[in-house]
């Protein structure tokens, strides 16, 4: 069956976080017909980040939600179109990329995958059972339910430290369980954490083994002190988990797009995957630095590469081309 011409776009961007929005600002500004498809929130994880201090151009910092809103408005100013749906599968049909969604199919000459990543689960007993009823992954969303209560924060990276400090606005005390012997968070954040010593107790070399509850509520976390191999119990009302990010790449199974061992998408130096015409930018890309500024930069880079790819397609009169490196 011939693709419906109304559903053919020069570029379809899967995702609507900083990488996707930056790419759309560039492509729409150059009159490249661009459709963004987002299944969750425009702005991605950046939109639920309480405060962004290291994005250039904002001397005093900016709320993640406001930064995302400004990016969306800028993309819309140049004509970016958004569709709220989920891409289920990508395949090639008649030389075009076919994106299957709940609401029907769209076709694209080029595709940019900018689906980002999502908070990683720890995979211990009790985590699923108490999900959103004592186990949480978004401090700005759910922290307020723990006013004057005890919390456990799991993780030792930037997100864990930043969100633990945010949670001190509400919680009476926080136990931070860090698997390693030290933080992976930046020195700046570790220094800031020192200002919250009255409310946060850090437990290094401590694994999180089980989340225990009764009558539908979390009551404690059981961990192990790796230096002594002794079990430890942390009495708590809730658990916030920040142990890293997993790529949103599940929909690419069977697409031919090559993933690395952790399911991040591999790309060449022009941010094109092994499938001609499918590009990748932002947190979902293998080797990404998981920073909003980096994602925006990659979005801009991918847009320029996509423009080159589409120009080459038009010159060649072919449906897909391989850009020479």
């Amino acid at each position: 069956m011939e693709p419906d011409k109304k559903n053919i776009h020069d570029l379809v961007v899967v995702g609507a976080g900083p990488a996707a929005l930056s790419a759309a600002i560039y492509t729409c500004r150059e009159d490249i017909d661009t459709l963004l498809i987002e299944k969750g929130a425009i702005g991605g994880l950046a939109a639920v980040t309480d405060w962004v201090d290291n994005y250039p151009g904002f001397a005093k910092g900016i709320a993640g939600l406001n930064l995302s809103e400004e990016m969306r408005k800028q993309a819309e100013r140049f004509g970016a179109k958004f569709e709220l749906d989920e891409v289920l599968k990508i395949s090639i049909e008649d030389g075009l990329h076919r994106l299957k969604m709940h609401g029907g199919d769209v076709y694209a000459k080029a595709v940019l995958i900018a689906t980002g990543s999502d908070y990683r689960k720890i995979g211990v007993p009790g985590e699923t059972e108490f999900y959103a009823r004592g186990v949480h992954y978004c401090a700005t969303c759910d922290g307020a339910f723990y006013r004057d209560k005890k919390l456990v924060v799991v993780g030792g990276g930037n997100s864990a430290v930043q969100e633990a400090m945010f949670l001190t606005k509400f919680a009476s005390h926080i136990d931070m369980l860090v698997r390693g012997p030290s933080f992976r968070a930046s020195e700046v954040l570790q220094h800031e954490l020192n200002n919250h010593k009255d409310k946060i107790t850090v437990h290094f070399n401590t694994t999180t083994d089980e989340i225990v509850g009764a009558e539908g509520k979390v009551t404690k976390v059981i961990g192990t002190d790796k230096t002594t191999n002794q079990k430890k119990e942390f009495i708590t009302d809730g658990v916030f988990v920040f142990v890293g990010l997993d790529p949103n790449s599940g929909f690419l199974v069977g697409s031919g797009v090559e993933l690395d061992e952790f399911r991040f998408i591999k790309s060449d130096i022009r941010l094109m995957t092994n499938v001609p015409g499918i590009f990748v930018a932002g947190d979902v890309r293998s080797g990404a630095t998981m920073q909003i500024a980096s994602a925006s930069g990659e979005g801009a880079t991918s847009a320029l590469m996509i423009r080159e790819y589409l120009n080459e397609m038009n010159r060649e009169g072919t449906s897909s081309v391989k850009i020479e490196q």
Partner: protein, 82 residues
């Protein structure tokens, strides 16, 4: 068609702002229950959604049936208010 809409929120929840802005952009009015301001209504939100999280949007339809949407989920919210 929705008879009325209630959104349970907290002060710092970005997804709550997104839901409110989206409804506002459609010219749809709603009642907001800020669970920090009214902590005594947290149990009501929990019993309705089964989740201690926000936003929780409760759409009451013309036949008085209710649809409860947890999170910023426009794929569910859009048909619920149609």
């Amino acid at each position: 068609m929705a008879k009325n809409i209630t959104i349970y929120t907290t002060n710092t929840c970005s997804y709550c702002v997104m839901v409110k802005r989206w409804l506002g952009s459609k010219g749809i009015s709603y009642e907001e229950v800020n669970l920090e301001q009214y902590p005594d209504r947290q149990a009501e939100a929990l019993s309705m959604s089964g989740a201690l999280t926000v936003p929780i949007t409760v759409v009451t339809k013309n036949d008085d049936s209710k649809e409860v949407i947890v999170g910023y989920n426009l794929a569910r919210l859009a048909p619920a208010i149609a």
